[in-house]
């Protein structure tokens, strides 16, 4: 990737609420370039006096959707950029973006083997791009998503994940850590080694793992995957903390 990443003006063409504190923006890009699932864009917002703020957002959509990308934004309390994207932005608004960026936390058909995706909260976003691409490109590699959220209501992309899980080769498991609906059959605790062993056992020894979420979850999941026998070089992580506003 030798080309310089130039800023371009994205136009918001659709807004979809996902949960109470999360929404997806569809951005039309005049200079769209195919991304690899897992990559992100930088966003730059400029105030009237020239002050500018930049943040990175993972791409949620698959590269088969040309000319536009989805980003999914979660509210960070006291954040600077996320409240603007959640509360102020309307369809037709424009702001600067550049990307796609990132070359390690990426998955596509060039990566051999089954994939284990482990998400905490909005860490599911780049993993969703991988699952959407897997479906759109009809990749046959088995995929398993273990998705930890506090409550059922905080699950992002729930209906679409149910649909993806009904297809061949994909399974989705949830771990609800704070509250569970009546009759809940999924996990009702934080991610631990037993859970990781349980979800990965059907994938075999060639599995490649992608872990994305808050630092504490990523540390537990990446360490746990090593303890149950995955080599470190097949565990790719992306961490975000309170500063990812």
């Amino acid at each position: 990737m030798k080309r310089t990443l130039e800023w371009q003006i994205a136009t918001v063409t659709a807004i979809k609420p996902e949960t109470a504190e999360v929404r997806t923006l569809t951005l039309a890009l005049p200079d769209w370039n195919a991304h690899r699932p897992g990559q992100h864009y930088d966003i730059r917002l400029t105030a009237g006096d020239g002050y500018a703020a930049q943040r990175s957002y993972s791409i949620a959509s698959e590269p088969e959707r040309t000319g536009e990308i989805d980003i999914t934004v979660e509210r960070i309390p006291d954040g600077e950029v996320s409240p603007y994207l959640l509360d102020t932005v309307v369809v037709g608004d424009r702001f600067e973006v550049r990307g796609p960026i990132g070359g390690y936390f990426v998955w596509d058909e060039s990566v051999d083997g089954p994939i284990l995706l482990v998400a905490g909260g909005s860490g599911v976003v780049p993993l969703m791009a991988m699952l959407r691409h897997r479906a759109a490109a009809r990749v046959s590699a088995p995929a398993r998503l273990l998705y930890s959220a506090r409550t059922y209501e905080q699950i992002i992309y729930g209906p679409e994940l149910d649909m993806l899980a009904s297809q061949d080769g994909v399974k989705v498991s949830y771990a609800l850590t704070r509250a569970q609906p009546p009759g809940w059959k999924g996990y009702a605790r934080r991610i631990d080694d037993a859970m990781l062993a349980d979800v990965s056992k059907a994938l075999g020894p060639q599995v490649v793992a992608y872990v994305c979420g808050p630092t504490a979850l990523v540390e537990v999941a990446a360490d746990g995957l090593e303890r149950i026998g995955l080599p470190a070089e097949r565990i790719r992580t992306e961490r975000f903390g309170p500063s990812g506003t």
Partner: protein, 201 residues
Amino acid sequence: MTRGFVGRRESAGTQANRIPPGQHLVKDFPVLSAGPTPRTDLAKWTFRIEGLVKEPVSWGWSEFQKLPAQDFVKDISCVTKWTKLDTRWRGVSVDILLEQVELDRRAAFVTAFSDGGYTTNIPLPELVNGQAFVAYGYDGKPLAPEHGGPARLVVPHLYFWKSAKWIRGLRLMDKDVPGFWESLGYNNHGDPWKEERYTGD
């Protein structure tokens, strides 16, 4: 200009001139790394200077602790947009380490290498004269593993991916060989004040 965007400049206040363009201030210490956190047995830990030197040198953990250490207070900036001011470190200046070897006159670039296979490249002139150190203490405590402990390189004037976590040595070279992130779309140099974030910036 972005319609309706005001921003939160006051978070920086009078320290705004210490925050590079496109960065924002944080009070916490975010963790970013590409894979699991390595855990190195200190009994097996070594720090090595190799490559274009007359004789390579290697220290074990207890030997490394006996090298003259200093306290450093530095502002650091991560390419993921956060800047943290006045971070407090303890460690050994790269100048002290390089005094222990005789450099080949062709040595012009350095590859820092780490547990887990991570590498990053830095021009030699940007590691010397008090610009970089190998830290094993942070905020009065041993450096935590997720922040690069037992020891990490700190090069505060470059984006923080150049400050290799879990460092195990420096390799002196005559050529500039891109490291891990430098081969994956990130800038070869990484000066925050010039916003050298990505390839071509």
